[in-house]
């Protein structure tokens, strides 16, 4: 058997023999007989295919479980090697961290050290993040916007105005959500939160408004033009403000910036942190809102 196989393989390689030789010529039967034979054959083939499918499905499941187990084991193993929570011997506990904690308040004027870090020491990271969001909006706009010609109303049977619970709750909650969002935005340098959180809360409030009171009403508050102008203006302002402080430097580089850190704890303090927080917040809010509108209607207006 083995030698036979090897001989065949050699012949196959040379081109003198093919695996289906001797089988292809076996169908020299009459048309009627062929039919009679073919149909049960087909059934057998089908059942075989089903069996194979079943086997491959089982294999797929088994392999997926094994892969998941290996992946989770690797991840859990990695977590074991991480330093403990709030451990003092971690590599991140160095002079940079000490500098942020000790000097951050005096240098940036922000009581909330996190805001001082992300919007003063590392403001360029945040600029990149804002641009990621803007790029996401543009991508969704390109993918999901459909032309105005198909202006048929999409009746999806969802009208929350008819639902007394949702309507009453939304009427009560929307102003509170918006006010909380604005508070988080304006107090980003004083209390936890800041641009991203406040913007997300604001965007959530607008989405709730659009959901409950209808998109037509929401468009009157935040139209396409407003969304575009606000997000582009915020991003340009961020760029300009940060390049300004990049060129003029700041106190710890020896050159005094025009906008000082102010009196830490005041609302109007922290130099550029408050306006930058507002810019980031507006970008995030517009992104969230336009995501909703594009997913729901396919257009912003």
């Amino acid at each position: 058997m083995k030698t036979d196989l090897f001989a065949h393989l050699k012949e196959w390689e040379e081109g003198n023999w093919t695996p289906d030789q001797g089988q292809a010529e076996a169908s020299s039967l009459g048309p009627r007989e062929e039919k009679e034979i073919k149909e049960p054959k087909k059934k057998i083939i089908r059942s075989l295919e089903k069996k194979e499918l079943h086997i491959s499905a089982v294999q797929y499941r088994v392999i997926s479980v094994i892969v998941c187990l290996i992946l989770s084991l690797v991840l859990i193993g990695t977590v074991n090697f991480l330093p403990g929570f709030a451990d003092e011997d971690t590599p991140t506990t160095n002079e940079v961290y000490e500098h942020y904690i000790e000097e951050g308040r005096d240098q940036t004027g922000a009581v909330n050290t996190v805001a001082g870090m992300i919007l003063d020491y590392r403001a360029f990271d945040t600029l990149g993040e804002s641009f990621v969001l803007f790029t996401a909006t543009v991508a969704v706009l390109l993918l999901l916007e459909y032309k105005k010609e198909g202006k048929k109303k999409r009746e999806d049977g969802l009208d929350y105005r008819l639902d007394p619970i949702v309507y009453a709750l939304a009427k009560f909650l929307i102003p509170i959500i918006l006010v909380v969002g604005i508070y988080i935005l304006f107090n980003g340098h004083l209390s936890p939160g800041g641009g991203f959180s406040g913007g997300a809360v604001l965007g959530g409030g607008f989405i709730l408004y659009a959901m409950v009171f209808g998109e037509e009403k929401a468009v009157r508050v935040l139209s396409e033009k407003t969304v575009k102008i606000v997000s582009i203006a915020s991003l340009s302002f961020y760029c300009l403000a940060k390049s300004y402080s990049f060129f003029t430097g700041n106190e710890f580089n020896g050159v005094h910036s025009v906008i000082g850190p102010g009196n830490p704890g005041d609302l109007l303090s922290g130099g550029l942190i408050l306006p930058l927080n507002l810019a980031v917040g507006f970008v995030v809010c517009c992104t969230m809102y336009s995501f909703y509108m594009l997913f729901k209607r396919g257009r912003l207006d």
Partner: protein
């Protein structure tokens, strides 16, 4: 008080794991979506216990609010939720329509 917080933390972590597993295992898409929202909500409370309230605010707004709405809209567009209902009506008869 510290003991109470420790107990609450353990309960939250347990329910976090339960929610994560239930999201993956639930057959109906709408169920999975609601459980996923619960997961985000629990996570936001956990962020608060880990002393990062800014992350808690973001998680509550994005994870529990905006994410859920976007998922809901996408699933509606793909008619996955409507199908769910049609299949579920003969089983449960009542109280299904309240979901949406």
């Amino acid at each position: 008080m510290e003991q109470f917080i420790a107990v609450v933390r353990i309960l939250l972590l347990l329910s976090l794991i339960i929610c994560a597993v239930a999201t993956a295992l639930s057959k109906r898409v709408m169920q999975a979506l609601i459980i996923f929202t619960c997961y985000s909500l629990i996570m936001s409370v956990l962020w608060l216990l880990l002393r990062s309230p800014d992350l808690a605010i973001t998680e509550a707004a994005v994870g529990a609010g905006v994410d859920g709405v976007l998922f809901f809209l996408t699933l509606r567009k793909l008619h996955l939720i409507d199908k769910d209902e049609e299949e579920a009506i003969p089983e449960e008869e009542e109280g299904v329509k309240d979901e949406n």
